[in-house]
Structure formats: structure tokens, C-alpha cells
């Protein structure tokens, strides 16, 4: 044997998975050698390292249990660098690469000496659900002492502290047949399905296809060894156009209508992945048919102290030997209730490993197994139980006896392998909403009917014999059965669920290793009235660890069933939830990070605003120019300047984000009459009108100016954020309530760039740019629209104002938006005009009492409340919202109504959202009668202005009210909503 640390447990000549090249890695800072193809677990075992982790609650020393995804002890933190660090990686799955760095978790200061291990001594206190029973008194101690203590103990590994630099991707795929699992069953199904010329995807979670065939060295299929047969099948499939083979790819979730989600890991095994290589890819596969060939998972035996490092599944020991050429010990005892453990023992014995004892739980086993054991010099004791084990950081002895307690014996070992039989993997079947059926004969759940187009074959369907599996593969693909010569197939007879001996009463017999759930904990839960398996699970946390009960569920169920004296199906099976194995958030997110989290929409004029120093504000998906600070200006000063410039000279504003809808057809006006509260019959072509839209419930939904271009054509504008839902709302009425109307709706929001020019010099600025229209005050009064040319481009020009000043809005095709804007700017700037942003726009419209839907109204405000009763055509027989507006509460007196507020101290600017009360001296909870919707400093007026929704506001004009703030009470006077140019003369200037 080699010196320690030099792969002294490597078995030469064995190992279907490993190569000859050696790689180095480190574990807890110590360097080790491994072979290419090793997993982290096999590599550590090759070096004689069994202690790989600590348990969650008791901090018990733990070694690897499994050679696959069901591992729940050997979880490690793997780091490539400070950002690429991943907690809770299963050592049994992680492939070793050159330079891999692994750290053990949940221990302090070291894995060998962990202070948290004191919990193990206190474990009698920490029984299932203990925290529900204590830490309640004194109540104050909860926040200060108990809770911080509990929270500090949380978790296993460390979350990364930096943003993940790696790339993830997504792929939608469609195929005729999707096969999950590339073992014997899956590969055979794929081979047969290809003959039907169907498109096929077959995936396997492991690096290599072959499943159990890679771990079983005895079996011969048509004269070939398992690994050889699998390799040939893969080569055959890979050569076909209609087959996609995905290794390192796990079927993680079965969703509706045969959508299976696959997680493919691409770089996790690479020593130095290319910097922009995709780390993981999510496949969302819609398949005509899904063949589930997930296999089965071996159960451990539940007996006292069954968790010491060096104790593992028999199948794991067999895999470590046959896939990786690693003997998991030199003195290995076996504890089993299933034939498969014998194959593991025999393989190990054939390599010269000493197998001192097979402790067989069953009383009767097949003669040929006994004979072969005898031949290899292995002692078998039947009808026996393991009563306990010895050792601290690794098992060093095992104590066993006959089931009646006789013939107790303790022997020295350095490993113990166990098998309680196999649990078919029903995860994906269950996720497809299939109902697993209990099979009393074999004491296991099996797939029942399939509610979707799927079929389970092989070990996950309870079919263990290879010849039968091949027959199933033929049947599920609609193929004729093929003939095969199969030799030395392994027997899977036997099995046991639940605890052995008196473990449910004595000692710590672990059911769920990671969460430290023992058979006693389950008994306690049952004793306390937890009679549903869901209660048992939640009370004890059995099955809630990172393996999601792959090892523990059946044992927990059996223990509860026995104590409840109820058959297993009556106790219930917990539901399987996606994902099958833990899956990175990154692979779900895929491309949708950073810029691609959500589209960022920018107007055609955005770049100009950016170049001219604008600050931007996000409005739904849009970025809008907020204000244009000049050097030294803060937001306040910039906005003040912009407002005053507009009012005294003019300003240019990018209104392109406004929604625009073209409403066209012979019945367009009739349709507008339905959708808007206003009347549209009298509006003449060339004129525009402000429109209000409600939902059926009578609350304001959206607003905007509508221009009538011709008898059949309206140019409708909506709020920026409202555009998509307004169009949907209109389409809904048009298609489903008024399909007989000849009207068509088209979104033109992005066809047009919209440039607002507002202020006394607005006409002077644009007049020379306009061709084909007389825009004089007489010919083109306020609320007009004309199709003309601006800067030589076909344009829709509106005479319209949201500032209260003389104003125009120029709509030009978007690709010309910036050029036209620059032409306007070239005229505007020399005249002393400015570019202004949304904030100045907000101030100026508030000075005029123009509302912003969504700010001065919310979904509880009617047009009447908002002071817009003039916009309701009461004589119309019908419009959307007419009936809703007649409901008692909407007609009641004293509703909140939009009014203006003037602070008694004009320099005081109210906070938007500030609540208004009539009597601020009342105790809390204080009666609130309204709140401030908009509030600004008006530089033009030299005082603050505000709009507010106030109960019975219209009748309170002139009265004093109060805004109680955290540190003061602000007195206000209720006013009308128009603060500036109350007669509205400037509009017509």
C-alpha cells in the first residue's frame, strides 16, 4: 500500500471512468492528486479521506454516502476565484479538474475539530421541534439572544459575495421524443426510437452515458461489457442527425403539456474554461413524448450510529471501485437486506479487500450468493442486525448480533457498506402530476397512470431485469422487441424500509443525514400527533435537506407507518417538487441579466438629450429626459430655469414616449363614443380634444389628447405607461363587444417622434420649418391638428399645450426625429429658448391644474372627483364606465375631490403623499381626509403649489387644513386647482 495522501486506495486496472492523466486539487487547503475522470469524492477516497463534512444540526463528522446526486453529507464549497464560489456542491457529482479548490462547510475552526460539535452532546435537548417548545420567555430575549443564536447557526456553505461573472444561456427546443436518463433503458429506447425517424433528445445527468452499466463489471450484453455496450450505443446515436445527446444534463422539472426543463452543465468539470464559455444552459423542451428512465436510488440501512465517515451505500462502494478504481477501505463490513450489496462485496473481495462480515438482515437468501461468499472466504450472518458502530472521525468498529440479540460481536473495520434496497425515482413522474401507486409485494411506490404523454421505463418503473428493461424500451417506442443475450445480470432481490432492530427507540439511527433526523425524531413527531407524512416531514425536517429526501423519504414513511399502525399509502407520500436536483438561479435567469433584464426604451431624441447633459428618469420601460442641468445647477435650479424660460421665451420637450393609437374606420367616431367619456360626434376634422377613459367601474383609466385627422381617422394619444393596456382595452371592446363596428386600431407610438415646442415664441421657432399649413393663430387655433411637412418630412402638427402656454407638438416619423429636433433646436436656442424635461413639464402643468393620471388620480378616482365632469357626455346612452359611475359610493357626497392647496408659509413645499387632516390635535390614529398628489416649488409664481385629493374638497375652498409631518404641522388653505393664468389667455397667444 502507498503512503497516505498518494492515492493509496487506488486499485490499478479498475475504473471505467478514469483516465491515466493525473490532476491535482486541494481540500481544506491540503493538496491531493487524482486521476482525470474522478469525482471529488472518489479522489478523496482514493487518498483515504473519508471525513468530508459536518451535519447541519449536531455537527457530526460525516463522510460520503453515495456516488450520485443523492449525496447529502459530502457537500463542499468550490471556488475558482472570489466571485466564482459555489456552496453545497456534492463531492460525489463534482468532477475533479486540475487546480480545483474545495473547502468543507459548517465547521469552525476545522473539519477535524469543530466547536459546533458540542451540539451533538446537547442533542437530547435538540429533538425534533425543540424550538417550538422553548425560547419564549422572557419575550424580550427572543430578539436579543435566542433568535440571533438560531440564525447564526443557519446554513451550510457561504453565498457568493460578488456578482457572478459567468455566462448562462437558454434554449427552447422541440422534439418528438425526449428521454431522461441514458442508462441501459434510456439508451435502448433511443436506439429503437431513431428507427421511427423521430427527432430525439436524450440526456443524462452524468458525464458519460451508461448509468449503472458503468458500475457493474460482470454483466454482458450480446457478449459486450456494460461500458462497451453503452459506448457503442452512444456512438451509434451520435452519428444520427435526428438525435441530440446531452450529457451532464439533468431533467429538473416536468411542467404542463409535456414541457421538460433540462439543466446542462458545461464548464463545471473544466480546469480553465474559456472566459466567455457558457457555464450552464437551460433547455426548455416541448416533447411529443417523454420517456422517463431515471433509474432507482439505493437506500441506506437505518441503525444506531449509521452516520460515521466510512459508512456508505453498497452501490456507492461498487461505483467507486468499478468506475473510479477506488477501494473505499481495506476492512469493509457489509450490512444489507438486498442482494445487490453482495455484488459490491464480491467485486471488492476480488480486488483483495478484506470483507470480514456480511451482516444480512434477511433470514433467507439465495444459495448461490452464499456459495459465492463462501468461495471468496466471506462470512455471512443472516437474520442479523448492526447494533452500532465505533470511531470518531471515521468508523473503526461495527457491532452486530442476531435479531434476537444473541451472538453479539464487535469487529474492527475501516468501512461499512449498506443496502436496504432500491427506491424507484418517481420525481419526474410525480411532477407530471402522476399519482404513484403502492406495490405491496415489492414494498415500493411505482408509477401509475400517466396524465401526460409520458412513460416510465427501467428501474424507475420497478423493472430491474435487463431483459425486461429492453422489452419495455421496445414497447414504449412502438418497436418490435429485439433479441439480446444477457449474462450475469445482477439480482435486486430484497429490501427493507424503516429502521432496523430497536433503532426507533435507541441511539441515533439517522434517517436524514444532512438534517440530523433520526428514527427517534420521527417517533417523537408521531407521538406528538403528527399523523400525516407532511406533518412528520415539516416537524422533523426529514426529507427537506438538499437531497430533498432521495435517501430519507421512504424510511421516514415506513417508520411513521409502523408507529401509526397504518399502511404506508394511508400515511401518504410527500409530493415531489421541481427541481430534481438543486439548480443555479443563473440557469433559470439565463440571458435576462443586466441590460437584458428588461428592455430599456429610448426615444429617437434620447442621444441628443444625453449629449446635452440631461438627467433621465425611468417611466415604465422608458427613459425620459428629466431635466437639463447647466454647469453648477442642481435639479431645483435647473427646473426653475426651465420653467421660467418656457413661460418667458419657449422650451422644447421630447414627448415621444406618449402612446399613440390610430383609430380608423367608418365607425371610428362611434367607437370613440363608447371608449371615452366625452362625446366625439361634433369634433371636426382638423380639431383636437382632450379625452378621458374609464374602465367599466367608472374610475379614470387613462387620458390624452385626440386629434381628428379625417372623418374616419383619429390620432389618439395615451399616457406613456398606459399605451399597451389602453390598446388592449380598446381591442377587447372592439373585438368582443362591438365586433360589428368597422374600426381598426394600430399602435403608432413608435412611428412618431413627438417634439413639443411651448412658450410665447413657439410659433416663431417653428413657423419657418413648417410647410403646407398655415399655423397662424386664426387659421390654426388652440386644439388644432394638421398634416403637413416639417423640415420637409411628412408630419402631424398639433396646436396643443400641457404648459398653459402657446404650444405645438410636432410628430415626425421616428427615424427623422433627431434631425427635426436639431432643426427646431437650431431655431430655438438663438432665441433664448431651452430644452426642458419631465420635471419642468410636471411643474408647469400643475401650475395650470392639469392632472397626471396615475399621480393626481389613482384607481379610485372618478372623472367627477378629478374635476373633469365637463369631460363626461352625460347625454350619451352608453360609454364604458357610465353604469359604474352610478354606483352608490361613487355618487355619494363628500368623496375625495381634487383641489389646490396653498401653504400658509408660501416658501414651504409640501411633500407629495403628505396626508391632510382637519384637526391635527387629535390622537393617533388620526382621521385623514386626503393627501397631496402633486407638489412643487413654482419659480414663476414665487411660491409653493400643490394639488390634493380632499374629502368634500370642492366645498372646503378657502378653509384651512393641516399636513401633520413627522416634525411639524403645516397649515394649508384649500384653493382651486389653477394657480397660473387662471383665465387661460396665454394658450391663445
Amino acid at each position: 500500500m502507498k503512503p497516505s495522501g498518494q492515492q493509496q486506495f487506488r486499485v490499478p486496472g479498475r475504473g471505467s471512468r478514469i483516465g491515466a492523466r493525473s490532476v491535482s486539487f486541494s481540500f481544506d487547503g491540503k493538496a491531493y492528486e487524482a486521476l482525470e475522470g474522478d469525482t471529488l469524492a472518489s479522489a478523496l477516497l482514493a487518498n483515504g479521506v473519508h471525513l468530508m463534512g459536518r451535519s447541519f444540526k449536531y455537527h457530526r463528522p460525516r463522510g460520503v454516502l453515495a456516488a450520485g446526486v443523492e449525496e447529502s453529507n459530502a457537500l463542499m464549497q468550490i471556488s475558482r476565484d472570489s466571485a466564482r464560489t459555489t456552496p453545497n456542491v456534492r463531492a460525489s457529482v463534482q468532477e475533479v479538474y486540475d487546480g480545483l479548490q474545495a473547502q468543507s462547510q459548517n465547521r469552525f475552526p476545522t473539519l477535524n475539530f469543530d466547536i459546533g460539535g458540542i451540539n451533538n452532546l446537547l442533542s437530547p435537548f435538540f429533538a425534533a421541534g425543540f424550538y417550538y417548545k422553548t425560547f419564549k420567555w422572557p419575550a424580550a430575549a427572543w430578539d436579543k439572544i435566542y433568535e440571533p443564536f438560531i440564525r447564526r447557526a443557519a446554513g451550510l456553505g457561504q453565498a457568493p459575495a460578488e456578482e457572478d461573472p459567468d455566462r448562462y444561456s437558454n434554449r427552447f427546443a422541440h422534439c418528438d421524443v425526449l428521454i431522461i436518463g441514458g442508462g441501459a433503458a434510456g439508451l435502448m429506447a433511443a436506439k429503437l426510437a431513431t428507427r421511427k425517424k423521430q427527432s430525439i433528445i436524450i440526456c443524462d445527468e452524468n458525464p458519460q452515458f451508461g448509468g449503472w452499466l458503468l458500475s457493474d463489471t460482470d454483466i454482458r450484453i450480446d457478449g459486450k461489457s456494460g461500458p462497451d455496450w453503452a459506448a457503442e450505443a452512444v456512438a451509434e446515436l451520435a452519428a444520427m442527425d435526428n438525435v441530440r445527446l446531452l450529457n451532464r444534463t439533468t431533467g429538473i422539472g416536468y411542467f404542463q403539456q409535456n414541457m421538460m426543463v433540462l439543466n446542462q452543465r458545461i464548464t463545471e468539470h473544466q480546469s480553465k474554461p474559456a472566459p466567455d464559455e457558457t457555464r450552464e444552459r437551460m433547455w426548455q423542451v416541448r416533447a411529443g413524448k417523454i420517456i422517463i428512465a431515471q433509474g432507482a436510488i439505493e437506500r441506506h440501512m437505518v441503525f444506531p450510529d449509521n452516520d460515521r465517515p466510512g459508512i456508505m451505500q453498497a452501490s456507492a462502494a461498487q461505483s467507486f471501485l468499478n468506475k473510479y478504481g477506488v477501494a473505499v477501505g481495506s476492512q469493509i463490513a457489509v450490512y444489507t437486506a438486498c442482494d445487490t450489496a453482495y455484488a459490491a462485496a464480491f467485486d471488492l473481495a476480488e480486488e483483495g479487500v478484506n470483507i470480514p462480515i456480511i451482516v444480512e438482515h434477511r433470514t433467507d437468501i439465495a444459495d448461490d450468493l452464499l456459495a459465492q461468499a463462501n468461495e471468496l472466504g466471506i462470512r455471512v450472518i443472516t437474520g442479523a442486525v448492526v447494533e452500532g458502530t465505533g470511531g470518531k472521525l471515521r468508523i473503526n468498529s461495527v457491532t452486530f448480533a442476531k435479531q434476537n440479540g444473541n451472538d453479539r460481536e464487535t469487529i474492527d473495520v475501516d468501512a461499512l457498506i449498506t443496502s436496504a434496497g432500491w427506491t424507484p425515482s418517481l420525481h419526474l413522474y410525480s411532477q407530471s402530476r402522476g399519482k404513484p401507486q403502492w406495490d405491496e409485494d415489492t414494498q415500493r411506490f411505482l408509477p401509475g397512470e400517466s396524465p401526460q404523454e409520458c412513460v416510465s421505463i427501467g428501474a424507475c418503473n420497478g423493472t430491474d431485469d435487463l431483459a425486461d428493461i429492453f422489452a419495455e424500451a421496445a414497447k414504449c417506442t412502438g418497436s418490435r422487441a429485439t433479441k439480446h443475450v444477457i449474462e450475469d445480470d445482477v439480482s435486486t432481490m430484497g429490501g427493507l424500509i424503516g429502521a432496523t432492530g430497536s433503532s426507533a427507540d435507541k441511539g441515533k439511527a439517522f434517517v436524514d443525514f444532512q438534517n440530523d433526523v433520526t428514527a427517534k425524531d420521527i417517533a417523537l413527531a408521531v407521538r406528538e400527533g403528527m399523523h400525516s407524512i407532511e406533518h412528520v416531514k415539516r416537524y422533523t425536517t426529514n426529507g427537506m435537506a438538499t437531497d430533498q429526501g432521495k435517501l430519507s423519504n421512504m424510511h421516514g414513511l415506513a417508520i411513521a407507518s409502523k408507529l401509526l399502525k397504518k399502511p404506508i399509502p394511508a400515511v401518504g407520500l410527500t409530493t415531489f417538487r421541481p427541481p430534481y436536483t438543486p439548480t443555479t438561479f443563473g440557469s433559470f435567469v439565463g440571458h435576462s441579466r443586466g441590460n437584458l433584464f428588461d428592455p430599456t426604451r429610448q426615444t429617437p431624441i434620447h442621444a441628443w438629450a444625453d449629449e446635452n447633459g440631461a438627467e433621465f428618469e425611468p417611466v415604465s420601460q422608458w427613459q425620459r429626459a428629466w431635466y437639463f442641468p447647466r454647469s453648477g445647477e442642481d435639479m431645483h435650479q435647473a427646473v426653475d430655469r426651465e420653467c421660467q424660460t418656457v413661460r418667458s421665451v419657449a422650451g422644447v420637450f421630447d414627448a415621444s414616449t406618449l402612446g399613440k393609437i390610430e383609430v380608423v374606420g367608418p365607425d371610428a367616431a362611434a367607437f370613440m363614443n363608447i371608449i371615452y367619456t366625452n362625446g366625439w360626434d361634433k369634433l371636426k376634422p382638423g380639431r383636437a380634444k382632450y379625452g378621458i377613459m374609464c374602465r367599466e367601474d367608472g374610475f379614470i383609466y387613462d387620458d390624452g389628447v385626440v386629434g381628428k385627422l379625417s372623418n374616419n381617422r383619429f390620432h389618439v394619444t395615451t399616457t406613456t405607461g398606459g399605451a399597451p393596456r389602453v390598446l388592449n382595452h380598446m381591442e377587447d371592446y372592439l373585438q368582443t363587444e362591438f365586433p360589428e363596428m368597422r374600426v381598426w386600431l394600430t399602435s403608432t407610438s413608435e412611428q412618431w417622434a413627438t417634439i413639443a415646442v411651448q412658450g410665447p415664441k413657439a410659433r416663431e421657432i417653428i413657423e419657418p420649418l413648417v410647410n403646407g399649413a398655415d399655423i397662424s393663430n386664426e387659421k390654426f387655433p388652440h386644439m388644432s391638428v394638421v398634416e403637413c411637412k416639417v423640415c420637409g418630412v411628412a408630419a402631424r402638427l398639433f396646436r396643443i399645450s400641457f404648459t398653459g402656454e402657446l404650444g405645438f407638438e410636432i410628430n415626425v416619423p421616428a427615424d427623422h426625429g433627431r434631425a427635426v429636433w436639431e432643426a427646431v433646436w437650431a431655431r430655438a436656442e438663438p432665441l433664448g429658448a431651452c430644452a426642458y424635461g419631465t420635471e419642468a413639464m410636471h411643474v408647469m402643468r400643475a401650475e395650470k391644474g392639469y392632472i397626471i393620471v396615475g399621480q393626481d388620480t389613482d384607481g379610485t378616482v372618478t372623472p367627477y372627483d378629478a374635476g373633469l365632469s365637463w369631460a363626461i357626455a352625460k347625454a350619451k346612452p352608453d360609454f364604458v364606465g357610465k353604469r359604474g359611475l352610478q354606483r352608490p359610493d361613487l355618487m355619494s357626497e363628500g368623496r375625495r375631490q381634487l383641489v389646490g392647496l396653498a401653504t400658509k408659509d408660501p416658501s414651504k413645499v409640501l411633500e407629495e403623499g403628505a396626508q391632510i387632516v382637519a384637526d391635527p390635535t387629535r390622537p393617533i390614529p388620526m382621521k385623514m381626509i386626503g393627501f397631496v398628489t402633486s407638489s412643487y416649488w413654482s419659480g414663476t409664481l414665487g411660491k409653493s403649489i400643490a394639488l390634493a385629493l380632499i374629502e368634500d374638497g370642492n366645498n372646503l375652498i378657502g378653509k384651512s387644513l393641516y399636513a401633520p409631518m413627522a416634525d411639524e404641522v403645516i397649515e394649508v388653505e384649500v384653493t382651486g386647482t389653477v394657480f397660473y393664468d387662471t383665465k387661460g389667455e396665454r394658450l391663445h397667444g
Binding site: 440571458h591 429610448q602 407610438s749
Partner: protein, 184 residues
């Protein structure tokens, strides 16, 4: 009358271009586009004007020279002309049987071509875009990531993808991300 420099059309992804071993993506030159809504009769009439029958079967397109007509919905077509100005396409007069709206500037197009074109699109589009499900000439409005797009398969390995102009930087970035994995 003052004139701005409006001779060229400009959009946020004008001139964008990317090619790798599997796929090439480029921003298409500006085009003229009409959102055409019509009754069956209106569609027939307009087909005569255009000298191109509008497709009547769901998901199909017709084309002739630089002009294509894409079936979008039962009363909706997207007319694209990659050469002629919009004035030449737009119907002269309004008609009770149809409605034509100029949306030339609303959309931006990308040409995605190469053996990896389908894979590039399938990174973000949930539709089955295999040749059998979406043969050459197929057209459809669909979803691409979080943006709505119109897809037209112009060849076995080439697609035209149209989106609204403010979505084009997002769609471009998403295409580039998809192109990265196009060889798989």
C-alpha cells in the same frame, strides 16, 4: 423653408453587424412598412393595387421582388417593401373595407442567417422554428425574450426579424447572446 438633414433614416441599431462561424446578424436597411387591416374584400382590392396577393392562410407570406406581405392576423397584414418609398405603397384613398397605416419607422429589422440562425432565435423565442414547423415563407408575430417581434423565414437558414424601434437595442443584445451558443 428650413430643411433638416433628413435624407437618411436613422435608428438605434443602424449598421449593427455581427458574424461568427455559425450565424450572421445584421441590421436591415430602412424599409417602407404598412400595417394593413382589412375585410377580405379590402385585402383582395389592395392585393390588386400592389400586384401581390395578400396571403390568406395563417402564418404565411407572399412576396415579389422587394415587396412582401405577411399574414399577421385574420384581418391584419404587415407589408414590407425594402426599396420603394412609402408613398408608392400607401393606398391613395381611404376605403371602408380597409385601413392602411404607415409604420415604416415603427419597426426595425434584423437579418439572421447561417446554419446557427435557428439556434440563435431559439435562445429567446419559445416557438418551434424547425423547418417542418416553420417552413420557408412562414411569418408570424411572436415573442422574443421580453419583446414582441415579427419573424419571417426567408430561407432555409435565414430569417428577417422585425421589432419596434425602441426595443431594437434589447433585441440586438439578445440576438448576440443567442449567437454565442448558435453552434450547439
Amino acid at each position: 423653408m428650413a430643411k433638416a438633414n433628413v435624407a437618411t433614416r436613422d435608428n438605434p441599431t443602424s449598421g449593427n453587424r455581427l458574424a461568427n462561424a455559425s450565424v450572421s446578424i445584421e441590421s436591415a436597411p430602412p424599409a417602407s412598412r404598412i400595417s394593413f387591416r382589412a375585410t377580405p374584400k379590402g385585402a383582395k382590392d389592395f392585393g390588386k393595387t400592389l400586384d401581390l396577393d395578400l396571403p390568406v392562410k395563417p402564418g404565411q407570406s407572399t412576396s415579389k421582388s422587394t415587396l412582401s406581405a405577411l399574414w399577421i392576423g385574420p384581418d391584419e397584414w404587415l407589408i414590407i417593401d425594402t426599396k420603394n418609398p412609402i408613398d408608392k405603397l400607401m393606398p391613395r384613398r381611404e376605403n371602408a373595407n380597409f385601413c392602411a397605416t404607415d409604420i415604416s419607422h415603427r419597426n426595425v429589422a434584423f437579418i439572421v442567417s447561417g446554419n446557427g440562425a435557428e439556434n440563435t432565435l431559439c435562445a429567446s423565442c419559445p416557438r418551434d422554428l424547425s423547418l417542418s414547423a416553420f417552413p420557408v415563407g412562414s411569418a408570424s408575430r411572436t415573442i422574443f425574450g421580453k419583446a414582441e417581434v415579427v419573424l419571417l423565414r426567408t430561407g432555409k437558414t435565414s430569417f428577417r426579424l422585425e421589432c419596434w424601434r425602441s426595443f431594437s437595442p434589447y433585441v440586438w443584445d439578445l440576438l448576440v447572446d443567442g449567437a454565442h451558443d448558435a453552434h450547439i
